[in-house]
Symmetry: C2
Subunit: 145 residues, 2 copies
DNA sequence: AAATAAAAAGACAAAAAACTCTTTTATTAT
DNA sequence: ATAATAAAAGAGTTTTTTGTCTTTTTATTT
């Protein structure tokens, strides 16, 4: 497994795809999202339900319904998705899984690990959800396996 | 969950403790290791068996037996433990879990993510197993929760 | 050689993550 | 109003991770 959970990987890819696909104000169905990011459809549905409940993505039921992103969400950093799905542990937790570990009471690896963690945080805070629309639109990058 | 699996966290903590505790050539039993790193003893046994099979730590059965680290292993980078337990995916895998993603065919997040991954790799390659002996010996740092 | 101490191995058990299926609810178009 | 469409919700199942227990093997000490 990578740094993020599988659920989170699907979530990020889905949100990237929704951002790309609904830039013109359209909505996109789970079916289409799932097909375009290579994810199991019913499982993805759960993830998107959750992100919708948490206000990160929008959803409308019925014909012509589907998922979408409002302009505010497009400017949202990637970190918000990760926090919503995996929790903030990736950005704050100890590398050795120690509860006591903190700046004032660090574990042996704390200072080394902190640097990496902080860089990850900075990267995820500075990358926005809508940032890759053009590359995706031009077909340069893909979200499929 | 953090960047590494629980298994891996236990593994790193255990190896740090073995390094610290057997610096004088002694051996240390699972019981003692488990007590000092707050880990379930039988589960830790499995992890150490694996690390022993892979030649990262040494083990001797019978009275006065136990686990130990030879001088070569003390100079080994932390990355070897992580690779042995979690695989090298943490150091090489795509942030979005995409198989195709590589330097020549990057995913949208590839270049941003690569920097973080490379810093993690560098950190884990430059940190050695035996590096924290003194701090641990002085009781400044702990491996318990 | 016998007793003992400690790891190795194997077979289980529980919990969490990943994934599926079915039913319900809301919206829109006709 | 009704039919069609698409998400929401709920109730599973499977797989992986995490953790336990028992027996076997090996080395050491006496």
């Amino acid at each position: 497994m990578g740094i993020f959970s599988k659920t989170c990987e699907y979530g990020i890819r889905a949100v990237f795809f929704i951002a790309h696909r609904t830039a013109d104000g359209a909505r996109v169905s789970i079916k289409e999202i799932a097909a375009n990011i290579d994810s199991p459809e019913p499982f993805l549905a759960k993830i998107l339900q959750d992100l919708s409940r948490k206000g990160i993505i929008g959803s409308v039921k019925g014909p012509n319904g589907g998922f979408f992103l409002d302009p505010r969400s497009r400017k949202m950093p990637l970190a918000r998705i990760v926090e919503a799905i995996d929790g903030e542990g990736v950005f704050t937790g100890c590398g050795l899984g120690l509860e006591y570990c903190s700046e004032t009471n660090p574990c042996p690896l704390h200072h080394q690990f902190k640097k990496v963690r902080n860089q990850l945080t900075k990267m995820m805070e500075n990358t926005t959800i809508g940032q890759f629309n053009e590359e995706l639109h031009l077909g340069i990058k893909s979200l499929k396996k």
